[in-house]
Symmetry: C2
Subunit: 206 residues, 2 copies
C-alpha cells in the first residue's frame, strides 16, 4: 500500500523538495542568488536546515536545481511552447510580445526575468552557474532560430535572415528591454520597448 491519505504532514520527500525549490526560486528572484538567505528560505517554507541539506548538498546545488527544475520549465511553457511548431514565427512572436505587453502589472517589470537576473549575477562569478544558465539560454535561442528557419521555408521570413544570429539578437534585445524596464520601473517604457522589438521583427518579413 501507498500513503494515499497523507495531507502534507508526515512524510512526502518530493513535496518538501518542491517547496524548497519554489521558496528558493522566490528568494533568488527577489534578492539574487548570493544575497538569498538560506535561513529566509527555510523561514518561508517552515522547514529547517535538516530538510534542506538532506535534499541538497549545498547552496549552489540548490541554486542549480532552481535553474533546471523551476526556471527552465517556466520559460519553456511561456516562451518555447508557443514557437515549438509554428511556421509563422514572426506572427507567433508578435502575439507573444503583445500578450506580454497586455499583462496589467508584469512582475517582470518589478523583479525582472529570473533567467536574466541570474545570468547577470552569476555568470562572471561561477562557471558552474554559467554553464547551467547558458544551457537554458542556448535552448531558447535554438527554439527561436529553428522557428525562424521554418518561417523561411514557409515563406514568412526573408531568405537572407541569419537565423542563429537573429535569434540571439531577438532574445538579447528582449532581455535588454526587460532589464531596462526593471530599472525604470515603468510599464509604459516596457510596452514601448516591446513595440520597438516588434518593429524589428517586421523588418524580417518577406
Amino acid at each position: 500500500m501507498y500513503d494515499s491519505g497523507m495531507t502534507t504532514s508526515t512524510k512526502a520527500p518530493d513535496l518538501t523538495r518542491q517547496k524548497l525549490l519554489e521558496a528558493a526560486f522566490g528568494e533568488i528572484h527577489r534578492n539574487g542568488f548570493q544575497a538569498a538567505s538560506i535561513t529566509q528560505i527555510l523561514c518561508d517554507t517552515g522547514l529547517t536546515k535538516g530538510a534542506l541539506y538532506h535534499h541538497f548538498p549545498d547552496k549552489k546545488a540548490l541554486g542549480l536545481a532552481v535553474v533546471d527544475e523551476v526556471i527552465r520549465p517556466r520559460l519553456a511553457a511561456l516562451m518555447f511552447a508557443p514557437l515549438a511548431d509554428t511556421r509563422q514565427p514572426l506572427a507567433a512572436m508578435q502575439a507573444l510580445l503583445a500578450g506580454k505587453a497586455a499583462e496589467d502589472d508584469p512582475m517582470v517589470v518589478t523583479l525582472g526575468c529570473p533567467l536574466n537576473n541570474l545570468m547577470q549575477e552569476m555568470s562572471p562569478v561561477d562557471e558552474g552557474f554559467r554553464l547551467q544558465l547558458n544551457g537554458v539560454f542556448e535552448d531558447w535561442v535554438g527554439v527561436v532560430a529553428a522557428a525562424l528557419e521554418r518561417g523561411k521555408t514557409a515563406g514568412e521570413v526573408r531568405r537572407d535572415v541569419e537565423a542563429e544570429a537573429t535569434a540571439f539578437f531577438i532574445v538579447s534585445a528582449l532581455e535588454g528591454c526587460v532589464g531596462m524596464s526593471k530599472n525604470t520601473q515603468s510599464v509604459t517604457a516596457y510596452r514601448s520597448c516591446l513595440a520597438q522589438l516588434g518593429r524589428f521583427l517586421d523588418t524580417l518579413k518577406r
Copy 2:
C-alpha cells in the same frame, strides 16, 4: 603655500578618495555590489577602514559615489561624447558599434557593462540605487534620442521614428547584447549581436 611636492604619502585626501572609488569600482564590477567586500577593497588600495569611513558614511554611499563619479564619466566618454553633436547619429552609432566590435578582447564580454550589472542587481532591491542608476540610464537614452532628433531634421533619420522610444530600445538592446554575450563568454556572439543591432539601425535610415 600648498603641498606641491607631495608624492602620495603624507596627506592627499582627494587622491585617497579617488583610490577608494576606483578600487570599489573594480570590486563591484567583478563581484557585484552586495558581494563586494569592504575588506577586499581596502586590501586593493592598501588603506584601512579609518580612511574609508572617513570619506564615506557607509557602503551604500560608496556605491552611489561609484555610480556618479566613476561609471557616469566613463559612460559619458565612451558613449555620450561621440553622439553629442552629430547630425548623422546612425552613422555615428554604427561607427561606435564597429569600434566596440573591433576590440580584440572586450572586458565587457568578461564582466559586462558596469551600469547594466548594477542595474540588474540593485534596482529591485534598493530604491536609492535605482534612482541613481536610472539617472545615468535616462541621460544615456536622452543623448541618443536627441541625436536621433537631429538626424531627423538633418535628413538621415526617417521622420516617423519615435526618437525617445527608439533610443530606449537601442540602449536596451545594446545592454541585452552585452549581457547575453557575458553569459555566453563568446566574443563572436558579441560581435554578431552588435551586427544585428546595426541592421536595426539601418532600418531607421531615410
